[in-house]
């Protein structure tokens, strides 16, 4: 094919150096990045999330105090220079507890989000791509499951466990929250399934796996990514909620839900016990949900 370069018609599309030089560089992803980069809110979210991740990974960077060290004489102290967030009934530093509690929230949110996404990717793309009876079975099961109230389901399930730890809590959350992601993936796959580039790949003889992996998922992933960011925040809140009402984590774990739960009895006399952990929890949830919104805007400018 090499001696084709003299084709007259090949020359007619030329003069591209001039007009292509002007075209901006980069993929769709980098366009989204360009858009995100100049929004201050995005940087606020990223900073909050980065701090949270750092807390989860290296809590000792943020406090030199041992969250479990008790000091009965100094119980229920109001916030001060030594104890920024005050101390609890047993004299434990609330600030150190909040720092060390981040790990549990992040780990659970990460595990739950990842597992739900994997389930959604596998079954959502199977249902969307193959359609027919595969789709019917997967979609009907999803619909039925979707109808079960998630929080209620998790509570009932958690009450059946003797001991409750990160694993059981994650499991209870995964079991009752994978449905939305699956439906989302399925409809995203359906939307790109009929694109001409999918047919082009089929015409080249590509296998179904290749088509799904190389062509459909990269183009269908955006809504799932956006939802995953939001979902991450929702799981953090859900963990705190379940723990607060007593079906979640148990002591001696350290978690935001437990700290808030402990503060219950003294809210009126010592409101700081609730306020500081509560504020940190809300901020974390807020940062992830807002990040999801920003990602959606950046990837799909039409929605703005």
């Amino acid at each position: 094919m090499t001696d084709l370069e003299t084709l007259d018609s090949a020359d007619q599309g030329a003069i591209e150096d001039e007009d292509l030089a002007a075209i901006r560089e980069g993929s769709l992803g980098s366009d989204a990045w360009r858009e995100l980069r100049r929004r201050p809110l995005f940087w606020i979210c990223i900073t909050i999330i980065a701090v949270l991740l750092a807390m989860a990974a290296f809590p000792q960077l943020f406090t030199s105090l041992d969250p479990e060290a008790q000091d009965q004489r100094n119980g229920l102290m109001f916030p001060s220079r030594e104890h920024w967030f005050g101390t609890d009934l047993f004299g434990r530093d609330v600030y150190a507890n909040v720092i060390y509690g981040a790990r549990v929230s992040i780990v659970i949110a990460f595990v739950v989000t990842t597992f739900c996404a994997i389930i959604a990717l596998i079954f959502g793309s199977l249902a969307g791509y193959y359609g027919g009876w595969i789709d019917s079975i997967i979609s009907r099961i999803t619909d039925v499951w979707f109808a079960i109230p998630g929080v209620l389901g998790s509570i009932v399930m958690l009450q059946m466990f003797e001991t409750r730890n990160i694993a059981t809590l994650s499991l209870a959350l995964i079991v009752f929250s994978w449905t939305t992601m699956l439906r989302l993936t399925r409809s995203a796959v359906l939307a790109v399934k009929h694109a001409d580039y999918i047919d082009s790949a089929r015409a080249l003889g590509a296998t179904d796996f290749r088509i799904i992996w190389r062509h459909i998922l990269p183009n269908a992933l955006t809504p799932l990514l956006v939802y995953m960011a939001i979902f991450f925040g929702v799981v953090i809140a859900a963990e705190a909620t379940l723990t607060f009402i007593g079906v979640g984590l148990q002591k001696p774990s350290i978690s935001w839900g437990l700290i808030i739960s402990d503060s219950r009895a003294r809210i009126q006399t010592h409101p700081y016990l609730l306020l500081f952990p509560g504020a940190i929890l809300s901020m974390a949830v807020f940062a992830f949900i807002l990040l999801g919104d920003l990602l959606r805007d950046a990837f799909d400018p039409r929605q703005r």
Binding site: Q12, G13, I15, E16, E18, D19, A22, I23, R24
Partner: protein, 327 residues
């Protein structure tokens, strides 16, 4: 007497995140009653934007009309108050769009949408409005109009929907009808029907018709005069015979040579080199220069203005038309 519609030195730009898109850069033309003027151009030539500017349909921001004037029977439209402008729209100047399916509201019956024109603008009663709407549907040759009155847009074929659009445009008896690619989405046999219909209603109502299209065949068969647009500018203006028999601009000539003809076989096509310009970065001087086979060094420096060719009123915007096409 003032001409019916005059567009003078119109400039429209869109201020986007990526820069200023100069969509229309000094477009001038006029239309009189019973006359059809075609605005011929490819995608990005600014032909549709100029029509939206005349209708006052440009969302601002990002769109801005930075210069120029649009006069209807001597009245300036661009500086007119919005409520006055609204009265002009529909009653004096009406528009037909390419995509009738999205231009019609899917949740109302077509009859209701046509009769609404009479109720809203003419204050007609429900019964009168319905009667007039059915008459209009008959005028645009929608079969079984009385029964189809209650049908919804999706129940019509593409050609029938375009007839509904035309009926709505005609409802208030406008003096100017702007048709933006009215047949582009239609099959060729249906296109022939719709073009025939437009010709008939124009004769009956005596309107001036502005026909915006990329299709040289439609222009040749339908229009009296043509404005050839490229990169938001008029490249050449003239009558059908002048332009098709002897183009006087390299772009017009290039277009003519690009199309295969049913009556001229197996000749190798002779395309225009390169690609249409990026409106964010229109070349300096003559916008067509990078693709032009006749370009000279001065084409990059000075933007050519329209100059008359002969004394028939035709004009071309090319520095070198004398060398390229002879006098």
């Amino acid at each position: 007497m003032d001409p019916l519609l005059v567009v003078d030195d119109l400039h429209v730009e869109f201020r986007t995140d990526d820069g200023v898109v100069r969509a229309v850069n000094g477009l001038s033309y006029m239309v009189d009653r019973r006359e059809t003027v075609a605005i011929l151009g490819e995608s990005g030539s600014g032909k549709s934007v100029s029509a939206q500017a005349i209708m006052g349909l440009i969302a601002s921001p990002p769109g801005f009309i930075t210069k120029g004037s649009v006069r209807f029977e001597g009245r300036e439209l661009l500086t007119m108050a919005e409520d006055e402008r609204r009265k002009v729209r529909g009653a004096d100047i009406a528009m037909v769009f390419q995509d009738a399916l999205s231009a019609l509201n899917p949740v109302f019956s077509v009859g209701w949408q046509i009769s609404e024109m009479f109720r809203k603008h003419r204050g007609a009663s429900k019964k009168e409005a319905k009667k007039s709407a059915v008459e209009l549907m008959e005028l645009v040759e929608i079969p079984d109009a009385t029964n189809r009155y209650r049908s919804f847009p999706h129940e019509f074929s593409g050609g029938m929907r375009q007839r509904v659009m035309i009926a709505m445009a005609l409802a208030l008896d406008p003096d100017v009808l702007i048709a933006d690619e009215p047949t582009t989405a239609l099959d060729v046999t249906v296109q022939a029907q719709v073009m025939q219909l437009l010709e008939n209603v124009q004769a009956e109502f005596g309107m001036g018709l502005v026909l915006i299209t990329h299709d040289l065949g439609v222009v040749a068969e339908q229009a009296d005069r043509v404005v050839v647009m490229y990169a938001g500018r008029a490249m050449e203006k003239g009558t059908i015979d002048e332009i098709f028999d002897q183009p006087h601009h390299p772009y017009t000539e290039g277009l003519m040579n690009s199309i295969p003809r049913l009556d001229d076989l197996n000749e190798r096509l002779n395309p225009i080199r390169g690609n249409p310009p990026d409106l964010l970065r229109i070349p300096s001087g003559c916008a067509f220069r990078p693709r032009c086979p006749y370009q000279q060094p001065d084409c990059a420096e000075v933007e050519p203005t329209l100059e008359f060719v002969g004394d028939s009123g035709r004009s071309t915007a090319c520095h070198h038309w004398r060398d390229a096409f002879g006098e």
